[in-house]
Structures are given as structure tokens and as C-alpha cells.
């Protein structure tokens, strides 16, 4: 026991150092969503590489059956494509359909104007604070836009203030689509540059050109359909049949002053319904 205490005393500087660094590391991993996700995923890289190696070996044994399945799938998809083209032509004729839907969407949303009072543009985890809170009916999960386009999502609220996770936050994920196409993509931010984000999960069969407009999809109640996100500034075709689209964001995050929080009239009703449906499946 005595020797143990002597040992600890002798290296007290080193132990204090290690102790403080451990506390810091614990704080980092526990409190920052970005680092936590990364910590888990990087440990998964090792697991993944082992599996992919074994997978490579197994693949050769099943090539014939894989080919047959693919041919069948191709046939199915071609049939579906023809059907969808016919449907599309049908809907294009019915122009009032789109107008009606747009109108109903317009009526169920209202806006709460707020002023940006603090923007901490630290490198990966950007947040900003606005001067409206629970007293003004701002709730977690509501969308935030300004006159140029989509800004972000309410992250937490107090009675008079709220923090917003902008789309330029490494943890932010927003579904968006190319204007005129229905296929969804996921908008995320890779760090580095406040003016560009990345749109992924858009498959290669959809034609994309530089300058195409990216808008919100309207599938979640956070943003109504058709809000401006940005324009395609460049894109690359990846090996896995998806695009990697670089999006020039419409909002200038260096000059945020006033923003509008979007309130969906039936948000609670919709959430309750979707929750009930989830329970039914269990």
C-alpha cells in the first residue's frame, strides 16, 4: 500500500496529465454528436474491412445466380419505367392538380420571424441562436428559412430563445430533391466551406445538369415543398450508381440577420398519427 502511494506521488504530474486528458476526451466523445458518431464508425471500419475481404472471396462462387437475378430485375425495372412514363404524361395534362396541391400546402403553414443573435461558426459544429422561443410557439424540429432559402432546423428551445442547427453543420441531414424530379436525395455538409453542401443518394439514371435548382421535397412536415436550397455547381458519378452533387447554397451564412421559423398547423396531429402507426407494427 505504502509503495503504491509512493509510486502515485512520484508520478503525480503524469497521472494528473493523463487524468485531465481522459476527462477532456470523455467530454468530447459524450457531448459532441459529431465525434461520437465518428468514434463508433471508425471502429466499424475495421470490422467492415474484414467482412468485405471474406465477401470478395465468396462472391466468385455465386456469379451465375447473381447474373440471373440482375437480368430479372432489369426486366422488371424496364416495365415499371414504361408504366411510370405513361402516368407522368397523364399528370402533365392535368395542370390544375399541381396548382391545387400547392395551394393547400400554402394554407397549412405559418411563419414566425426571428432575429439571429449569435452565430458560432466553429469549424464542424455550427449553431446559431435566434430571439424567439417556446413563448412564441417555436418547437424543436421546426424548419428555418429566410428570403433566400433553407437555413436549418430548430435544435433546442428555451422560453425566449432557440438554437438552430443550420444545414452547414456536419451532423445535419436534410432531404432535398432536384426541381422537377421526384427522386429524393440527402443533403449533408462535409465541413470546410460555408457556401457548399453535398447532395447524395440521387441515382445515376436521373439526368443532372450544372445549374439545376435543388429544392426541399415536402415529404416531412419540417419544410413545405419547393423551398430553394441551392443550385448544382458540379457533380461526379460514383462507382455505386449514385451521383455526388456539389450544391452552391442559396443562403449566405456569413450574413444571416432575420430568419423565418416554419410552423406546420397539423404537426402534432401528423406526429401522433405516425407514432400510432409505428406502435401498430410492433
Amino acid at each position: 500500500m505504502r509503495t503504491l502511494i509512493l509510486f502515485l506521488l512520484r508520478f503525480k504530474t503524469l497521472f494528473l496529465f493523463l487524468g485531465l486528458e481522459l476527462i477532456s476526451f470523455w467530454l468530447i466523445v459524450n457531448n459532441n454528436q459529431f465525434q461520437r458518431n465518428h468514434f463508433l464508425s471508425s471502429s466499424n471500419v475495421m470490422v467492415g474491412s474484414v467482412y468485405s475481404l471474406s465477401d470478395k472471396v465468396y462472391k466468385y462462387f455465386s456469379l451465375a445466380s447473381v447474373n440471373a437475378t440482375l437480368a430479372k430485375k432489369n426486366e422488371d425495372l424496364n416495365t415499371e419505367l414504361v408504366q411510370l412514363r405513361e402516368q407522368l404524361a397523364f399528370y402533365r395534362q392535368d395542370a390544375s392538380y399541381a396548382g391545387r396541391r400547392y395551394h393547400s400546402v400554402q394554407n397549412n403553414y405559418s411563419f414566425i420571424t426571428a432575429k439571429v443573435i449569435h452565430f458560432s461558426a466553429v469549424n464542424q459544429k455550427n449553431y446559431f441562436t435566434i430571439n424567439k422561443g417556446e413563448n412564441d410557439n417555436v418547437k424543436v424540429g421546426m424548419g428555418v428559412v429566410n428570403e433566400r432559402g433553407v437555413v436549418g432546423i430548430i435544435n433546442s428551445t428555451s422560453s425566449h430563445f432557440s438554437t438552430v442547427m443550420p444545414i452547414v453543420n456536419a451532423s445535419s441531414k436534410t432531404s432535398a430533391t432536384i426541381k422537377g424530379k421526384t427522386r429524393l436525395g440527402q443533403l449533408s455538409w462535409k465541413g470546410k466551406d460555408l457556401q457548399h453542401a453535398t447532395l447524395e443518394e440521387v441515382p445515376l439514371y436521373i439526368p443532372v445538369t450544372i445549374g439545376d435548382t435543388i429544392v426541399t421535397s415536402g415529404y416531412s412536415s419540417t419544410f413545405p415543398e419547393g423551398f430553394m436550397v441551392g443550385k448544382v455547381s458540379s457533380f461526379t458519378e460514383r462507382n455505386d450508381n449514385f451521383y455526388n452533387i456539389r450544391v452552391r447554397l442559396a443562403v449566405d451564412f456569413d450574413q444571416l440577420s432575420y430568419v423565418d421559423v416554419i410552423k406546420y398547423q397539423y404537426a402534432e396531429e401528423k406526429a401522433a398519427l405516425e407514432k400510432r402507426k409505428g406502435q401498430g407494427n410492433d
Binding site: F17, L20, E21, F25, I28, N32, K192, L194
Partner: protein
């Protein structure tokens, strides 16, 4: 104590808002750690560094990152001070250009600032995949911080 609060306020209210060329922010607050006199024990230096980093983290939403980097630098500081500082034995020696000589002082500050920034940005990015970008950022920010420290030293020398 007063200068500690002063450096923290300067960092939080002013320097964190500087984003020169979009990504260069000086982290001047570790200057306080570098200036601690040699009479402050190694353990106390580390506690100071940890607390300063923690306060800054709370204000910047980077919980732990600054604390980690600053504790690391506070751990190294006494050794660097012995290496670069004057070899004759002073009881209470406050690092400065006068005591160290210009060359040695610049090296002492530059190495520690660079180490701090590198550790901070690596922890903040939490990956080695953007290593060269992180390195570039750390070097650029270090140069900026170093220039600010030189300004401070210049005014201190002038006042005397």
C-alpha cells in the same frame, strides 16, 4: 487571475469572430499559459490550462476540444521552458523576450502554439482523413496567433 479572465473575454468576444480568409482564427488565450512564471508548479499549470480550455469550450460549443489541447500544452510547457529558457537558476522567472532572448522566446512560443493548434484541430476534426487540410489550417492559425503574441510583447517592451 485577472489577466486569465481578460484573455478569455478577448478570445470569446473578439478573436473567435475573426475568420480571416474563411478559416483562420487566432487562439491567443494559450499565451496566458505560456506566460505563467516558473514558480507555478507543473500540476497547477495543468489545472489552469484545463480550466481555461473548459470555459472556452462551454462558450464555443466544442466541449472538450480546447480543454484537451490546452492541457496537453500545459503539460509540455515546463519542459519547453527549461529547454529554451535561461539556464541560470532563477526562483521566479516569468517567460519574456528579455529573459529568454528574442530567438529562444520565439522558438518557445512558436513550438507550443503550433502543438496546441495541431492537437486542437485534429481533435476537432476527429479524423486523419483530411490531415493535410487540418495541418494547413493549424499552421496558418499558428502564424496568426504568433503575430498577435509578438504585438503584445512589443507593447509590453515599449511600456517599460
Amino acid at each position: 487571475m485577472l489577466s486569465c479572465v481578460g484573455f478569455l473575454l478577448l478570445q470569446i468576444l473578439l478573436l473567435n469572430n475573426i475568420k480571416f480568409l474563411g478559416f483562420i482564427t487566432p487562439y491567443l488565450y494559450i499565451y496566458f499559459i505560456l506566460l505563467l512564471p516558473s514558480s507555478v508548479s507543473k500540476e497547477m499549470t495543468m489545472v489552469w490550462g484545463f480550466l481555461m480550455g473548459l470555459v472556452l469550450d462551454i462558450f464555443c460549443d466544442t466541449l472538450g476540444c480546447n480543454a484537451f489541447a490546452t492541457t496537453f500544452v500545459s503539460f509540455l510547457k515546463p519542459y519547453f521552458q527549461n529547454f529554451f529558457g535561461p539556464k541560470d537558476d532563477f526562483d521566479d522567472m516569468k517567460p519574456s523576450i528579455d529573459r529568454f532572448g528574442f530567438n529562444m522566446f520565439i522558438q518557445y512560443v512558436a513550438y507550443l502554439v503550433l502543438i496546441h493548434h495541431l492537437v486542437f484541430f485534429l481533435i476537432e476534426a476527429f479524423t486523419f482523413s483530411m490531415f493535410w487540410y487540418t495541418l494547413l489550417k493549424a499552421v496558418c492559425c499558428s502564424i496568426f496567433t504568433l503575430l498577435l503574441i509578438l504585438c503584445f510583447e512589443y507593447f509590453k517592451a515599449k511600456r517599460r
